[in-house]
Amino acid sequence: LKIIWHFVDLLGLDGIRAAVPDVDFIGVESPTELERHLPGAEITVIGQTRYDQTTAEIYKAKGGDLRWMQFRPSGMDKAARFGVPDNVLICNAPGMSSPVIAEHVFAHLLTLTRRLRDWQKVQQGGEWMRPTAIIENMQSLDGMTLLVIGYGAIAQAVCLRAKAFGMRVVVVSRAAEPGPNVDAVFRREHLGDACAEADAVTMCASLAKDTHHLLGAEAIARMKPSAFILNIGRGELIDEAAMIAALRDGRIKGAGLDVFEGEPAKPDNPLWKMENVIFTPHVAARGGNDVAEFRKFFTENLRRYRAGAELMSLIGPERLAAAE
């Protein structure tokens, strides 16, 4: 059995070789390597970030022996956009990074509310200063309202943490119901009303046809001038131009962003320069246990594949089409 392991920096290759020693895992990073190794490979395991137009074309042209593509992590928008070979099983791997991504959301939110960037400047100045302008802008999350858009694994991890910080949690989703970590639920058609209640809006939906620019100019216009936008989902969930305009005009207070429309973010993207924007380069999932978690997940899925059992997180053609 020949399996392609297609990841940046061959992430996790040594671990999976040790975990499943009877399989020939071939590490692949570049399109050239892929073209060379793909013929004869029955399975490929691939990181989403590698799946671009060129890569997809190679898979479609040379992947004649492929039976199963295991994507990592959960977002399927690139596979949907660039297409996959016909008659191949497609799986994703959701939820592995939820705790660490939710943690990153709170790193952004707390950096904004505790004004850590301002205090950082004071520290760099090397002088004990307690300007009223900074202190009066400090906030406590206790009692604030967090709007969570989406209710997948990441969103649920965010809700849990929000409760520990004493926040009121409002969710926009078809799937959510009020419970211990959810105070209120809105349907998507009432997104504007939900935005009007929020002290912070966090985007946790996956990117699909109907979530592209889900947070648009209209919804942003309903937000309080004291509210923050947080995005660890996908850049395209937000109308970035509308958000930039709102940030620039002071119609919202700030943003914590880990994802952007077009990555790496262009050097002339105005978000780089904004004082009220915490800007991290798509690292929300980093530091987590996700490599080990994914190894466990894939080892089990491979066992099922070899046993002829049903695979976990199988994505049907309709779901893949909807993700585009």
Binding site: V8, D9, P99, V100, E103, H104, F106, A107, L110, T111, T113, R114, L116, R117, W119, Q120, V122, Q123, G126, E127, W128, M129, R130, I134, I135, M138, Q139, S140, L141, D142, L160, R161, K163, A164, F165, G166, E263, P264, A265, P267, W272, I278, F279, T280, P281, H282, V283, R286, G287, G288, N289
Partner: protein, 327 residues
């Protein structure tokens, strides 16, 4: 005889009208100056004051003319000035602990995540318009599944435990008594401090400062910590031996520290903490942004009720908190 309560506080008095409305049988008076204080104290049974106004002259007047006092209540958590300048002997003293505890704990977690998620490095890259994803990603650590040792289980300690649990951490509490809570996985006595410090990915100082807790985290304790561990202190200065901490940070024997309290404050310009790159300094602001007024009022009301009922208010301090700390 009607009971007299005297407010000697920094302006404004906040809740005086609200509180006096609840106790029609108590006479509430106000002293704005030390002179007014000396005139009003005779016949006063309860003095309501604050650490900041308890200066040397006020302390003298209270000792000399506060002969009818039965309780001194502080609307602040700290009473160290009063202890330093001398309280009248034999009169119960109560305080208002953990007034901004949710914000204190939040601030500590904010500093923790800034360290663990390398926000400072990323922030510097933002100003350079530098997408440093590959470079920084390997150094980021996740707190989920890590262990936080929380020292002290007062209002701030309790809030720290809740927040740490929310982040999916294992919580080990170091506490004098065996008091614990649902967000605590394990509780140990202070005699086990060194042992649990070796297990900690994060150590959070949340206890009060007494002669016993002074320099509780000294050279030996810091040496027991892992090189990957972070230290947080938003509670009280002098719980940690500052010079030993500076050495541990600069020699990379611990990974970083988030500090909001110092000795002395203001932190002098030539102090070592300012320039250590793995040390986050904020100037004693961890309680800011939180409206502590409702809780302050509730504590005062509870103290007055207990006193009227002939009971000792819950917030009355023990002798170890009223003893000056000798260094």
């Amino acid at each position: 005889m009607i009971m007299k309560v005297l407010y000697f506080l920094p302006l404004p008095y906040g809740d005086k009208d609200k509180v006096s409305a609840l106790f029609p049988k108590i006479e509430f008076a106000v002293a704005d100056t030390v002179e007014e204080l000396s005139q009003a104290l005779p016949g006063t049974e309860i003095l309501v004051t604050a650490n900041s106004v308890y200066q040397e002259d006020a302390a003298q007047v209270i000792r000399d003319t506060g002969t009818d006092l039965k309780l001194i209540h502080f609307r602040t958590s700290g009473v160290d000035r009063a202890v330093g300048y001398g309280l009248p002997a034999g009169i119960p003293v109560s305080n208002s602990p953990g007034l901004s505890a949710p914000a204190n704990a939040e601030h500590a977690i904010a500093m923790l995540l800034m360290l663990s998620r390398r926000m400072r490095e990323i922030d510097a890259a933002q100003t350079r318009h530098d997408w440093i994803r590959r470079d920084v990603a390997k150094r980021i650590v996740c707190m989920h599944g890590m262990t936080m040792v929380v020292i002290g289980f007062g209002a701030i300690g309790q809030q720290m435990c809740i927040k740490a649990k929310g982040l999916g951490m294992k919580v080990i509490l170091v506490s004098r008594d065996s008091k614990t809570g649902p967000t605590v996985d394990e509780v140990v006595g202070r005699d086990k401090l060194i042992e649990v410090l070796a297990k900690a990915d994060v150590v959070s100082m949340c206890t009060i400062l007494t002669a016993e807790t002074h320099y509780m985290l000294g050279r030996n304790e810091l040496a027991a910590m892992k090189p990957t561990a972070f230290l947080l202190n938003v509670a009280r200065n002098d719980l940690v031996d500052e010079q030993a901490l500076i050495d541990a940070l600069t020699e990379r024997r611990i990974a970083g520290a988030g500090l909001d309290v110092f000795n002395p404050e203001p932190l002098p310009e030539d102090h070592g903490f300012w320039d250590i790159d793995n040390c986050i300094v904020s100037p004693h602001v961890s309680g800011s942004g939180y409206d502590s007024e409702p809780r302050t009022t509730d504590i005062l009301i509870a103290a007055l009720k207990s006193h009227l009922a002939g009971e000792i208010p819950e917030t009355v301090l023990g002798p170890e908190q009223l003893t000056p700390i000798e260094v």
